[in-house]
Structure formats: structure tokens, C-alpha cells
Symmetry: D2
Subunit: 367 residues, 4 copies
């Protein structure tokens, strides 16, 4: 499969470069009858918008989503939904300093090695700006899933070493601070830490956590397209993500079977688990409890501090990346992680409908 | 895509249950002309064989791989390679105790919820035994990649809290201890720890690390089928894996841009990186340095200690899982992680051949 | 996608060469709960069995299908169904005459050009014997569809110039003659014609028609995976097929809009069409009437008459293909066409379940 | 796979409805370094433009293609190429007559049955206008293939019963008549025939033929993704196509092995075939001779003559479709067939590069 399409039944194809005329996404396989308008997408896009505070870049992208197809009379029709986002802030700049230079931590070098040519303006296709298409598509998936009672809560769990312990979450705080942290005190501590990063012309990373509530049991396809495998692949495809965990993740590797196993119990409302170390999947299939995943986000590679690097001719040189850059991209990555999770779940949810003959019979009976 | 097939050009489809007559794999898209014999596959399979020491189960699987197609006169022909492994140790047992019971940490409950029916003998399709098919297929991928100078080194980095620091590796030790740890002292410490687990009727987890050397730059397809994304999805599809990292992984989230960026430098032999925090990928494309990935493996869910659970009718009950079980599955997972990495790399390596028009022109010139 | 897998949700992967130890198929994505036994598959396989009369080869393949996975207690479990067919009649023959020779009308030359190596024994992978795997898999699809009231009727419409007009079908005759023709008189005429072919050391072709009854409206995915497009691709993938038609096919090209359009009418039982020139699809989606498709099957390329050809070194030579060969393969292709149609329909039928939000809501309500 | 994407390595995703704001295509997997500009696409689009003569509709679509991504400094970069075509002629019309009515021969009924909702304006997604996206994408594929010496010649072989015999082609005539027929006399005869159709308020069909020259041997993936199978699936996905043939097609079914087999011969320039009944493929793999395919195109379903039909409530009624309609769509389908063939060949050509280990080794040697 060419690299810019994800999914089997509910698919997304993104396109576009950082400084081209526009970028966008095509969502195919969205079921017919979903109420959808541009505002639904806009609300999602606004969450990744830069220029919202001192920790994100001043570039004002606007990022107005236009729906060009697939919606009629306010509802999806089952045909591809094409979403266009114009790149409005395309100031003609001087790119001569980065044109032939491989910025450390960026994909300049590898794109050159792979393609022999690249759109060097602002990172081109490898820019974080590509995620705007993902987020627009994720908004459609999230709208669909909300209709089914499936909800996503994503937030910043950690910035650098400042990590909110599992028991200390206050979800009402997420939208109260620019870092999307579910803890006021940790958000304040992280803000001070980032101020210091800026002073030192440096950048920081962090951890995004995403929680999926309301997911029915039975989602995920053994053996290669398990729910956790699909989530891991989708979330790791975000440029800055270097690690993914489900449930206790690497903590499980240090646990014991007697503690890590989640005991089942039954009451009048059904079967439940006493704990959720597994993070909502068993054998890669959702078990009806909340799905918990985490993504490690690396520090912003663009820093104004001087770095060693090479140019395309293989000359050694020094670079210090000009312009204002986010000292941390974690807050902007929050909605991207959520979008990737929503796209993954929407796809597997539709695939799961044909797992049993009895369900297929019931579906086609009388049609 | 149905769940049991992975890959685009170089694909694997696995089939089979733990206690059915056989299990196997079909590798399709393997290029013609690769020398291949059953011994190549056997050597790989033997690395996941149980019954090799006190930390793995006594069941003697034998696991003789037969090649049924795709090889002629000792070489692959470009047609599907079907590999069959008979289940020899199918003692007729009494499964009445687990037939209707949902073992904690296992997929019994979710398979029931998804399919309404399951082969309860030894876990059926969700058994770790399914990985025999992956390993057999991975042997083919690894053989192919070895021809291109690409080599895999996988090992146990940690058992429980006993973790080998990056600087303390002695790769010559990997095959010298039953835990496949590249450090004699850590292997001894881990052995003692596991003895204690057995005494306590408990189990432990750990971390597998895999290193890929010799991979050319340019492998990985932006934006969704990046090398790291594909590796993460493939490795997370192993049943017991709960987390995946590339390079510094979650450590990168606690680092700074100035430290996490790998500076480039050039000398007469080409362009290199001074460090490799990125783990061999930039923008999801291989950069020519070693690829490093880690997988968190959870503790064996089968423990003889008594646990709370439910049966299929929703009655609460106690279960203690009889028979001898591995106190840790990490050592057996080492070759599985390696196999998944090899399958992923083989696929992306073939896809990458068509990235540039100039390469395509050179290929077809004169044909 | 590697070439040996077909389908999205309901998939088949075939493997095996004509004279290797075995061949087979893996069906993945078959829903759980379908009653299935080896006899279900055997009945289908027997329909393509050679050695049933004077117009098919004397080789006695036996073709006993074994189910190795995916079925438990007589029902499918939702996991991959692996079907194995041993090649029992592997007499050690002398292949020196065809080893280096490119038989006209066969794939020897193109496999050599593509792969540089080929299993020359009996055509290897390009042998018609590969279709045994397709037929075994098709039996599973047909069994599934029969549970939903969808039935296939395939037969020989024409042998050479002897074609049964649409109005002259007597379906009860299909199993009464070795040519599977739904007309006794045409079958007799065709038999005499084939006798003459044998005398002239020549071979003939013909047309297979397949009719699908009971298919609900709404099956087929616009725009590239339409029902007719998927059927055409699947049926054309049979080695000997050179043309595919839906409904009036090439006849429609000579018709007029006023005649080719099928008028709708409604009565108390619903909406119907007065005619069915379209062959059951409109815009590539099933319309609830019978689907009609036809496949043009070329004359058997293996003839004992002397032919001009070349060897692998590019020397011109004469070849006359020894051994007994079918003077016509159309009767054996009947069940292969049916199998490909069943596999295609099963896949699209499952995909269609997620076309509407209201259906998805109903499905997940209460789960 | 969701229905609007085609291909494995070289993929196209189309989107858009007849009367929405725009439609378009995303081409992913196009190799880097291909010179490409909007004019390359425009030239192709102009060939399907209506309003060019009395046999095509008066609607003036303009159809200006814009490239929004994937091209930099006049060359492709290897990233997705997004092509946008605005729908300029969106007069606000009165659709009340067709809103609830199922036009015979159209997809209104089946879209309703599948999705429960449809964009009824001008056919929405099922309109022939959707093919503009295919043609735009096909222009990219054709440009790529031209760089490799692979050329397409598509034309109208027949209108109704007026068919040009194989020996009577004059390719220089194709662009000299509005029907794209390679024979002046047949074009004149067909024009008179179509005048008569218009007078009778009726429409006609025909046959498009496409010839591919310069294709190297070895293209096509056994067994399901053969070159002929992929071409058949792609061409049958065009809404109006009801049949597809390769080489002699249905004629082969009436031939004999001795005549239908193409004898090989060798001379100093290599191996050739004396005839090309096979149409350039053997075993589904290109054999180095010209590929010949034909598509049967049905008569335009929109006719002003009165027809019986039903509305969405199941009431019987009469409809006569107003406005000016093409009496034949065959000439406009010519470039669509060519586009589908080019997209298919581009994809299989890239897949084929990894068929042999020796080729892969040569490719990676020194990288």
C-alpha cells in the first residue's frame, strides 16, 4: 500500500506539503447518514492550531476546513469525504539556509536519500503540518464513534520529567491550561520548565495519554490487525512519536503475573475486570473496559542553539535554526494522537461486524 | 484486510490453532532465486522451542517445518512458500476445567465475545503457539535480508527489574544462557529471580531488544507506513507485547532537543550521525545507522496461583491453572520479535525500490 | 498486494505447484459459526476432478481436501481455515523435453522472463491445477452464502460455435452430461465436435455462464470495487479466461438505450425490473435481480499437433506435447468460475454491512 | 479496501460528486523525479470534455485541473499528488423531477438501497463525471509510462453494429473525427447512425479498444493480480462498461488450440510471437508483445423517450429525462479506458521490480 492511506473499511488518505497551496484528507468508507458539517472538523483542527500561547509557534495558520464532497443535506452519503485546508500563511521566505542542509532530528536527510528531491520549504511533506489532514479525518471518525457512545479523552501526561501520576488526574483541567494537562499544579510546573527551555534555546518532549471509553468488547482482528497492534502502528506513524504503550506498557514488563492479570468478576450488570493493567485489550481484542494508550513524544528538533550538521554535498557545517519554534510539541500532538486512535477504532469497529454468521444472517434477514 | 495476513509485497499469512492437527504460514512475494531449505527455517524455529530449560514448558513440540511449495531445486521461485508444522504433542487431555472458564490475562473472554465460539484447547488461535508460523516466515525474510547484508540481533534486555544497561552488552553471551541475555552476570541474576517466581507460583515479564544492522537509508513509506510505524504495529501484534519503543523511546520524552537530536557529520566514507538516539529512523525512514527497537513483554498470564474469574455463564469462580508453565516467556519471544522485524523490513525494502523515476528507468532499461 | 491473496474481509490465499508435495488455500475472515466439514469442500473439488470422461485427462488426482485449522466441533471459529490437498499422482516423469522449452499458449516463457527460474514440472504454479485451491476456498464461500439464501448456478453455455440460446436452457440437464451443458441436444452436438477435435489433435474453447440468485440489493463498493468490477477481476484471473461479460455484455454495445435500460415497476412484493439486460447490477451495485456473468475460455493450449517454438537459449524448434490432454477445459472451468464468483460475493457482502450509520447503530446497540 | 482507492504501490483515490463544489484525485506512490505540470493533466482531461460536438452534451465543464501537492520545481517529489477540478457549471436547477425517482439504467435505485441517502443532483457520485478524477490520475500514470517507452493508443472500435475490422485501422484518423474512430468511413457511417438515434430520442453503445505498446515482458502478479485480471477489474469499474476482453477475447472461445496458440520464434533481436491472439499476456504476465484490450460500453441510459419506472415510495410512474444528453458516451469513454489501463500498468510495473533476488541485490548494491 502506498504510504499515505490508512485503514481497510474506514480509510484516510492525506496529502499536502507544509508550504504548498493546500493540504487535506480524503475519508473513504464513512457510513452514510452521519450528521457532519465543517464546524465539526474545525473544532478538532482548532485544538492543534499553533499560535495559542507562548509554547506554540506564532504562525497563524487559520486552518479553515472545507468539505468538498461526501456530505449532502448535512449528512454523509457513504461516498468519499474530501476535506481541504488552504495554507494561508505562505510568506515568500528565504529558504537558502536550509535548502541544502540536513537539519538534525528532521527528515531532510532521509527524504533526500529516498527520493533524491524534496520540497525543502518548512519540511514539506515531513512537516508536522501534515497532521492537519489526519486531525480533520480524525474529527469525522470521532463524530461517528460518538454516535455509538464511544468517547476519547486525550491529554498531556508528562512534559520532560514532570509526569502526572495515574491517581492525580483532574480531567476538568485539560482545557484550562495551554499544555492540556489534567492537573493544574503539574501544568504550572511544566510551564516554568518550558520557560527555562526557551531561555536555554532548547526544547522538551513528553507523553500523551489517550483513553477510550464506551468501546464494546470484540473489536480487533487476530492475529496481525489486533486493536493494540493497529493503535501502535497508527500512533507511531506520527512523526515525533518514539514509543507506544497499551495499559501498563513497559511497566508490565516489571510486574508479576499475579499482579498484572486482571481478575474477572460478574455481577447483575455483566462481566467486569477488577483492574485494568491490560489497558482494555486481551489477545488484541477489546474487552469492554477503557482502552488506555500512551505515546512518547520527542523534543522539538528545531532549536535555535547551534548544531553540527552537513549539507547535501557532504560538507560539514554549523546550523542554528532561525524563527520562533515551539519549545515543545506535546500539547499540539494531543489531538493528533486522539485522531489516530479514532481512525483506528472506527475501522476495526466496522470490520468486526462480520465476525459471526448469526450477525450476518440477522443483518441480511428481510433485505 | 482479514487479520491473519501482514505486508504488501512480501506478505505472510499464518494459520492454525494450538491443538489442531497442524499450523503454518504462507509467505507470498518472496523474490525468486533465494537459496532456501527446511534447515534454514528449522534453525529459527528451534530458537523458540520450549523444553529447553527450566524456564520453559516441558511440552516437546518437535516443530519440524516442512516446505510444501515455492522452492524448486533449492531456490525460491517467486511463488508462495507454504510452510507446515505438525502439532505432534496432541495428547488427548481433559479440558473441562478451562472449557467454559475465562482465564485472567488470556483471550478466552474476548474471543467468546467476538466469535461466540472458540477452540478452547490450549488457547486455540490465541495461543503463543501461533507464533511458530510467524517465526517460520521470519526465517525466510531473515535469509533474504542476510543476502543483502542486513542482519538482526535480538536478545533479552531485561527480566523484571533486572535490566542490562546499554553500555554493558556482551553479544557473545546471548547464546550462552537460556535467557538469551547479552550479559552473563545479568543472566545469572535473572535466573535466580525466576527461581523465586516459580517458588511463589508466579511469573515475570521483561524487555526484548532487537538491533538491525546494515539497513540502507531510504526504507519506510511516509506518512502512515513509516519504518517505525510498521515495526511498532508488527511487534505489538505479538500477543504478550504491551509496549514498543524505537531508539530512546520513552527516554526521548524526558530528553532535550539539544541532546536528543543526532548531529550529522561527513567524512570520506560518507555522512554519519554522531549519536543514534533516533534508533535509525528520521521521519520514519531509515537513515543508514542501526535500527534499535524494544518490546515490553508482559508476565506469563498462566500461573498456578489461585485467581478470581468467571465462567461463560457469568458465574464467579476460582481458577488455578494446572500443568507446568513458563515463569517467563521473554526468552521465547526474542526470536518472535526478530521475525516480526525481519518480515516488516523485507516488505518495506521491496516497496522502496520504486521511489525514484531514475531507479525505475535504470531497472527497465534494456529489458 | 502479493499476487496470491484475494479479498478484503473474506480473503483467500492459494499456494502450491502442480507437481509439488501438495497445494492448498487459506481462507481468512470467514465468520464464526458456519457448519463446515471436509465433505463440503470435497463435493466442490469433485466437480473439477479430471478423469471423469473422455474429454478430461486420465490423471487421477484424488484431490482429498483436509481441513487443518479454523473449524472446531464442526463449525468455523472465525480463524483462518487452512485446506490442504496432497498431490498424489506425482509419477517421476521425464521432463527433459519441456524443461527448457516454452510451450506456446503456456506461461513458461513469461515465468522465465519474470522470475528467471520456474518449476517446469507440469506447469508448476501456472498449471490449471492451482485452481484446486480456489475451488476449495470457493466451497467455503458458497456454503456461507447458501446460509444467506444466495445460490450459484454455473454451466457451459458454449463449446466452440455450439452455443445454447438464452431461452433454451434446461438446468436439470447440467449434471446429466460430462460437459455441464443445460441442454441435452447441445451437449450431444458438442460431444461430437470434441471427438472431431481429438481426431485432429486439436483443442477447443467455450463459454461458462454463472447465475447468482438471491443476492440482496446493495452489494458492491463504488467506485473501483464495484460488484461487476470485482467479479471481472476475479474471473479474469483464471488462467484460461480471455473475456468477461456482465448481463448483455458485448451485446449491450450493439443495443439501444430504449431496449437496454431495464424498466422498474412496483407491486405489492416490492420493486422489480421488467427485464435484466444489466445482469443484476446498476452502478456496480447489486439491484436484487439475478446476477449473470460469462467467461470466455480459450482452447486448451496443450495439443499433440506439432508447433513452432523456442527453447530458453533462443533456439527455434518444433514441439508436440505428449501425453493425453483435455481437448477442452471448459467443463472443468465451470466450478472454478463459480468459486471465484462466490469468493467475490462473500467478500463484498461482508463489506456492505457497514454502509449505513443506522445499521451500525443497530448492530452495536446493547453490545 | 474502501471502494474509492485502486492500486498497491501506485494508487489513485478519487472523490467528488457531479454537482458538488469540486471533484478530484489523489495519486500516491508516484516515483520522485517525474516532470509534471497541470498542462500534462489538462491535455488528458480535454479528451473527455463534453461539448465538443453534436454527440456530446452542451454542458461546458471547463475542467481546469489544479495540482495542490506532490510537485515541486516542476517535478514529482514522491509524495501524494492531489489534483482538484472545480465544478464550474453548477447552475441551480430544479431536481424535483428526479429527486425521488429511480431512472432506469442509472444507479439511483441501488444507491438508495445501499446507503438510504443519495446526492440526487446529476447522479452524484455515480455520475460519469466521477471519471474526471480517474482521467486526471491516468494522465500522471501515462506520463510516467511514457518515460519508460510505454505508450497507449485508445480509440472507438465500434458504435452499435458499425465495427472497424482489425485490418482496417488508420490510427491517423483517431483525432480527425469526434468519435475517435481509426477509420474515416466508419466514422462517417457511425455519425449518420447517431443522427438517427437522436431523431428517435434513443441512444447507442459501442466498443473501446486500447493498445499498449512497449510494455516489457514480466509484468503481472500470479495468481490473482495478473495483468489481464487487474486490467479487467479496472476497466469494468467504469460505470458504463459491461464486458472486457483481452486479445481475441470471446473470439478465442470459438477458436482452436492450433490457431489460438501464438507460436514463438527467435531471431537475432530476441524471442517473438508470430501472432498475438493472446493479446500480450501469457499466464497473466506480459510477454513483450502489444497488450490489446476491449471494453463494451452500454448505450447512454439517459434518453428523452418515455420510460416506465418507480419513485422512492414504490409508486409506478412514467419518466422522460429532460435536457440534452449524449446519444453515445463511447467517444468520451475512450480516454477513461486508457486512463484505467495506464493506472493498472503503472502499479504492476512497480510491483514487478522486486520479483528476483538478483535484481534486488543489484539495486541495493552500493547504497
Amino acid at each position: 500500500m502506498a504510504g499515505s492511506t490508512l485503514g481497510t473499511l474506514f480509510t484516510v488518505t492525506t496529502w499536502g506539503e507544509s508550504h504548498g497551496p493546500a493540504l487535506g484528507a480524503v475519508v473513504d468508507g464513512c457510513p452514510a447518514g452521519l450528521p457532519l458539517c465543517e464546524e465539526d472538523i474545525q473544532r478538532y483542527l482548532d485544538r492543534r492550531k499553533p499560535g495559542q500561547g507562548k509554547f506554540t509557534t506564532a504562525r497563524r495558520e487559520g486552518d479553515r476546513a472545507q468539505i468538498l464532497s461526501g456530505v449532502f443535506d448535512g449528512k454523509t452519503t457513504g461516498t468519499p469525504i474530501s476535506i481541504l485546508i488552504k495554507n494561508e500563511d505562505q510568506r515568500s521566505r528565504d529558504y537558502s539556509s536550509i535548502k541544502d542542509c540536513c537539519r538534525p532530528g528532521h527528515a531532510d536527510y532521509t527524504f533526500d536519500r529516498k527520493y533524491g528531491i524534496r520540497d525543502y520549504r518548512g519540511g514539506g511533506r515531513s512537516s508536522g503540518r501534515e497532521t492537519a489532514g489526519r486531525v480533520a479525518a480524525g474529527a469525522v471518525a470521532a463524530k461517528l464513534l460518538a454516535e455509538l457512545g464511544i468517547h476519547f479523552t486525550a491529554y498531556t501526561k508528562a512534559i520532560g520529567d514532570i509526569s502526572i501520576p495515574d491517581g492525580a488526574y483532574d480531567f476538568s483541567q485539560i482545557t484550562e491550561n495551554p499544555l492540556y494537562m489534567p492537573s493544574r499544579s503539574h501544568a504550572e510546573e511544566a510551564a516554568a520548565f518550558l520557560e527555562d527551555c526557551i531561555r536555554r534555546q532548547d526544547s522538551a518532549g513528553g507523553v500523551v495519554e489517550c483513553r477510550i471509553d464506551g468501546l464494546p468488547a470484540g473489536i480487533g482482528e487476530p492475529v496481525f490487525h489486533k486493536l493494540d497492534a493497529a493503535l501502535a502502528g497508527a500512533v507511531m506513524s506520527i512523526g515525533a512519536v518514539k514509543g507506544v504503550e497499551i495499559g501498563d506498557g513497559f511497566g508490565a514488563a516489571r510486574s508479576f503475573g499475579s499482579r498484572n492479570n486482571d481478575p474477572f468478576y460478574a455481577d447483575e450488570s455483566g462481566v467486569h475486570k477488577r483492574t485494568n493493567h491490560a489497558g482494555g485489550t486481551l489477545g488484541g481484542i477489546s474487552d469492554g473496559s477503557a482502552v488506555i494508550l500512551r505515546a512518547a513524544v520527542k523534543p522539538t528538533p528545531s532549536i535555535s542553539r547551534e548544531q553540527d550538521t552537513v549539507d547535501r554535498e557532504g560538507n560539514n557545517l554549523k546550523i542554528s535554526i532561525q524563527g520562533r519554534h515551539d519549545p515543545v510539541i506535546v500539547p499540539r500532538a494531543v489531538v493528533v494522537v486522539e485522531a489516530m486512535a479514532a481512525l483506528t477504532v472506527a475501522d476495526l469497529l466496522m470490520i468486526r461486524m462480520s465476525s459471526r454468521l448469526s450477525d450476518i444472517k440477522a443483518f441480511y434477514s428481510g433485505r
